[in-house]
Symmetry: C2
Subunit: 408 residues, 2 copies
Amino acid sequence: MTFNHKTNMLAGVRVLDMTQFEAGPSCTETLAWLGAEVVKLENPKGGDAGRYATSEKDGIDSFYFMQFNSGKKSITCNLKSPEGVALVKKLVREANVFIENFAPGVVKRMGLDFESIKKENPNIIYASVKGFAEGSPYENFLSFDMIGQSAGGVLSITGEPDGQPCKPGVTLADTGTGMLMSITILGALYRQQATGQGEHLQLAMQDAMTQYTRLAYAYRDLNGKAAPRAGAKLFTTGNAPTGIFPCKPGGKNDYVYIYTTRAGNHHWERLCKLLDREELIDDPRFSGPKERAKNEAVIDNILAEFTKKHTKREAMKLVGECGVPCGAVLDVAELYDDEDLNSRGIFQNMDHPERGSYKMPTWPVKVDGGHLSLPASPLLGEHVDSVLSEWIGMSPEEIEKLRKDGAV
Amino acid sequence: MTFNHKTNMLAGVRVLDMTQFEAGPSCTETLAWLGAEVVKLENPKGGDAGRYATSEKDGIDSFYFMQFNSGKKSITCNLKSPEGVALVKKLVREANVFIENFAPGVVKRMGLDFESIKKENPNIIYASVKGFAEGSPYENFLSFDMIGQSAGGVLSITGEPDGQPCKPGVTLADTGTGMLMSITILGALYRQQATGQGEHLQLAMQDAMTQYTRLAYAYRDLNGKAAPRAGAKLFTTGNAPTGIFPCKPGGKNDYVYIYTTRAGNHHWERLCKLLDREELIDDPRFSGPKERAKNEAVIDNILAEFTKKHTKREAMKLVGECGVPCGAVLDVAELYDDEDLNSRGIFQNMDHPERGSYKMPTWPVKVDGGHLSLPASPLLGEHVDSVLSEWIGMSPEEIEKLRKDGAV
């Protein structure tokens, strides 16, 4: 197994990163992983609001922070001091990208809004991530992941059919939003490389959710009403068997997902053979997709009888090998320890200056036969001297003065 | 309100797109939306397997297909004929990117695997999306969205605390995977523009899910066990009030999400004032984050009493305006008709040659003050003549011969 030390796709690209928590940091982390120099600008008093907040020990970087800031550099900068704001303006002249996800109104108050930054660098790509969009009735509202998912439609289509709306465990309005901004920044970088042109990019969490919920809009168009909740099944319905089936030894995540197509009978027939129930192939109750959909409860019972005799890994192997789509419901502890995902380099260790070795998922796309070797997240202000020297030629004396003035 | 007719960020970029269903098409659609020329290569007999499958009428493009193929061109090509395969090889010499998401083994059998394509164009960016990774014990298994989400950990952290795993309504292993591949292709395009270098990119749905579930891995690291399911609340816990609260008139999605921070009492105090219950601020049961967490059930009842008196939109306005993060649980029909999202250009109409006007979400990132004007999805084979002429200089007679031979 080879890991790529760095991908270097974005060699030479400089990103000035004024983001915190997850929606912004997940975006700039992808840019760092692809080879950009991402300099995170942090409050000297505690840094990124997510840096220490969920840590189990005072003053040490949280796992949460480490997960979303791998591969970045960190400089401190006091944005409440004129020297701090002046420093940002100097740095932005050397940057390709400037990005922020402060609460509504904050960058304007600091004099670091798009118009102000563009005066310093007309070719800048300026990116803002917010909870609600400029011009929305909610534009001044605070937002976090669960708010974006609620107002963006995700909760309404997640949960049991007769139950309340449920929040997916994934942080889709944070990382999902970050991924869409990353795509757009990369598009803008492609043009900037060719023409020098900058760009103003704005994305709201609520709006970003429409990109991930489009199957539900297709459902609305077909059925003239909002897509419902369907538990572990699909709101699009009509495919039986489709869903999770219980496995040995009956724990909370001991299930295997089995999906069969509506386009023909081949998946169903393969299942009947696997179950040694070939007589069901000619049973009129199951003779076609419509018939099977009508008799879904009967089919689910037949299949559950089979899956209950196996662990989820065994069931997955048996069903998958006979050519029917299936997957065990794996939990994050199982995945964390999974031999396959570890040996292929999906999980890797960063070498953190204070935590030591820390294992987490790296960029899941394999590039040229290997995965990115996971770089460390930065300590608060770790790169003040090197970045101020390399980006804007500051002398050690000038940097020392900024420190004394409390600007960095 | 201004809409950008085209973004043109990727002007001149050519993508040869052999993907179907959603994981691949959602990826190439972003490239088309950013301005690349994406040519979708489809089976002359029915095209992309998702084109007609879920349509309500025979022979007309499904809403599902339209959602994921906006802005692309379509050419037909019979990959079972030697002429068809030869045509792909000619086209790939003119492309920057080649992408496929066929079932395991298929491109190899067709002679269109990475090694074969690289011989035709050593600078190509070759991207493959699969359910399970090369080298995984499941590499030959079929997969769809729900399988990727199960095996990737997403179901294990979604659902009610005492219930079964639940599938988020969002198609995260499809579109979520597509977005990560899009990011990596764009990184590779940036380098290709600078150096000419091509790249081999591979992504599996199962692996892609680790990017969206990282909060659950941080939980595992803190707690030494898999993250649990938490319904509409957060598995990270500790913040009260946090969750959905019932609103008038009590329908399935009549809830408002309210979140309060653990970092201080300010959100809580604002809520108490809003509820005209300022005496609760000094109540020792709610004096700090830990105390509130312990008395969560009491707090939830107090807050529900208030929210029940209002519709979700009213409650959102009242709570949000007092500076507490909140969002109504909006369903996709409400969002589809939402005046704000429509007037801002998040929803737009494509002008489809057969369907007429069709409304769907466009790219949610605002670029230079406006959103992408939504381009139509292509009819099957709509661009055979123009693409074969423009890309490889074929004459009308040559194209006619390919048609007669059944190659296009």
